[in-house]
């Protein structure tokens, strides 16, 4: 799994480096640089071919669109992962709090009902098969 990303990353790094060197050649062009320029242009084509080959191995990878928002703003995409984890943990804690509160309410309700309807609650417990503290 990680190898697919490593291959793609390697090809992309080479491609970017090639483009950067091409930019340097063009920034102050000399006649002797023509051969180098032609070579770099062909490297662009082969680089794109290599990247295109990697695409087939990664067709099942999905990327959330929100990550693109971070990248477009010039922000670190790891912040998206961080915020997802923080939000998940916060929601987890919130739901756990609700569950705990409902459990407390249930036990209190059963206690009070047992005071008002002792026989019915005994039948209820026998049917439900749950262990509750006697009222």
């Amino acid at each position: 799994m990680a190898e697919k990303f490593d291959h793609l990353e390697e090809h992309l790094e080479k491609f970017v480096e090639n483009i950067r060197q091409l930019g340097i050649i063009v920034s102050d062009f000399q006649p002797s640089s023509q051969a180098g320029l032609n070579q770099k242009l062909n490297f662009i084509v082969t680089g794109l071919q290599d990247i295109d080959k990697c695409r087939q191995q990664l067709h099942d990878i999905t990327v959330p669109l929100e990550v693109f928002e971070y990248i477009d703003q010039g922000r670190n995409p790891q912040l998206y992962t961080k915020e997802c984890l923080e939000r998940a943990l916060a929601k987890n804690e919130q739901v756990k709090g609700k569950i705990d509160t409902m459990k407390k309410f249930k036990s209190l309700l059963i206690q009070e009902l047992s005071k008002v309807f002792p026989e019915d609650m005994a039948k209820y417990r026998s049917i439900r098969g749950e262990d509750h503290p006697p009222s």
């Binding site: 340097i24 062009f29 242009l41």
Partner: protein
């Protein structure tokens, strides 16, 4: 706690209570057993309404009461991203990428959003450029006009001292003891000196690499360094 049962007022039988229950609470998916099976008969008072919910809701093993991060083995990821401070800028994630990548993509029409909304027209395969096509890439000699030179401008690298000061001001770090802070400052000073030397060496190496042909000392270095400014 006072529980009111409207069915006592009506004095209806077991079937009547069932109809009233459905009217009040809606139809249930699983019909409860008839009250007679539970020990209630026509001679006895109707059962309280809560007994109709004898069937508990479906239980699941995984609920919000469990720690989902440990359940899905994400502790390492959580400590990695949330335990340490993650740097804000994109250049911290991709330090080797040239150019001004911290700027928003909307400035120079290089946003990923525009790529998704207006994907480029793809057709055919990538064919190598032939000799006749390469004739179109014969360039004029000389430097580029100033408008096009911004491509090589790198964002200024901030000094480590400023970063440490900023992080100290922002993070709610507990107060350090005087002995610890002194040791840390001494360690940082010691570490910075060899780091500075390494950075200088790396910069020199990069400058030597800038020339597309194999680096030769002298004029090629001078021309490449002037264009990078």
């Amino acid at each position: 706690m006072r529980i009111i049962n409207a069915r006592h007022r009506e004095g209806a039988g077991a079937e009547g209570t069932m109809e009233n229950f459905t009217a009040l609470f809606g139809a249930q998916a699983d019909p409860p057993p008839p009250p007679a099976a539970l020990g209630f008969g026509p001679g006895k008072p109707p059962p309280p309404s809560f007994l109709f919910s004898l069937y508990p809701p479906g239980s699941t093993e995984l609920t919000g009461s469990t720690n989902l991060i440990t359940h899905y083995n994400l502790e390492h990821a959580y400590n990695k991203f949330c335990g340490k401070k993650v740097k804000e800028k994109l250049s911290n994630f991709l330090p080797d990428l040239p150019g001004m990548i911290d700027l928003p993509g909307s400035h120079d029409n290089s946003s990923l959003r525009s790529l998704i909304e207006k994907p480029p027209i793809l057709g055919g395969s990538f064919n190598p450029i032939t000799g006749t096509m390469l004739a179109g890439f014969r360039l004029h000699t000389g430097p580029l006009p100033e408008q096009c030179r911004l491509m090589h401008v790198q964002p200024p690298k901030k000094k480590n001292k400023q970063k440490h000061k900023q992080s100290r001001a922002q993070d709610p770090v507990p107060p350090e003891t005087p002995s610890d802070s002194d040791h840390k400052k001494k360690k940082k000073k010691k570490e910075e000196d060899p780091e500075r030397k390494r950075k200088k060496k790396e910069k020199k190496k990069k400058k030597n690499r800038h020339s597309p042909e194999h680096p030769g000392m002298g004029s090629s270095q001078a021309s490449s360094s002037s264009s990078l400014r």
